[in-house]
Symmetry: C2
Subunit: 121 residues, 2 copies
Amino acid sequence: MPSRLIVSRELADLFRQLAHADRLRLIEELRHGEKDVTTLGLALSLPTSRVSQHLALLRAHRLVEERRDGRNHFYRLAQPFIADWILQALPLVDIRARLEEAEHIDAARALWSAPAPNSSH
Amino acid sequence: MPSRLIVSRELADLFRQLAHADRLRLIEELRHGEKDVTTLGLALSLPTSRVSQHLALLRAHRLVEERRDGRNHFYRLAQPFIADWILQALPLVDIRARLEEAEHIDAARALWSAPAPNSSH
DNA sequence: TGCATACATGCACATTCTTGCAAATTTCAG
DNA sequence: CTGAAATTTGCAAGAATGTGCATGTATGCA
């Protein structure tokens, strides 16, 4: 019974969904609660159509859930701990990058860990 | 200063390397210590050339390190905790898959968590 | 009903990955 | 030096993804 193979495929599939900067930012953006598509688009400076496509992917993989209110669609993390889990990977990023941009990592950790920053670049 | 954007790109890059079943299996295979290419190939039923290619990728991203001894190249995890971190993602895999193959996940967790199983499928 | 807002979808094109094999390299044994 | 073992590399073809835009759909409001 190829349990290991099957599970590794499931995991690989999950990682594939997370292998995109925009989607990671969306997840972190939802870290502190639900937001609608337009808000997310403004926060990440992305066209809503793109945001919508990403969210559709994340939703298909049960990473986010949707709630409709009028003409707004609010999205939230299906399993909030994913945001923390992702941040735990920071020490794993390429060592060169870490040395060169250690500041960025610390800054990002601070930003993403903050209560709810008003998006800053 | 686009710290968040930069870091999200670094992370996405990391996830991309992990978005492949074979590479995940290689990492879990190295969980308990270094192994050489041929051994890994036999364990995963993959041609050594493929294993070598995957390892080259993982090495380029500083996820594994190499040690040469004679004509054997031994690989090991650069940061062992990655194996545990990956397993922490199991609860995140698609719910349908979880319901249908919960057994596999439990089985896999057991297998991968075991001291050093002699590879079983 | 008619129009604007908020999202979702469908497509075509470009780019990146994966894969299987053949061809190099490096090292050890005789 | 010669050949085999252990690995790495180079390629080409096919599969997946990402991207920009145009089009569709649903909802709120006058």
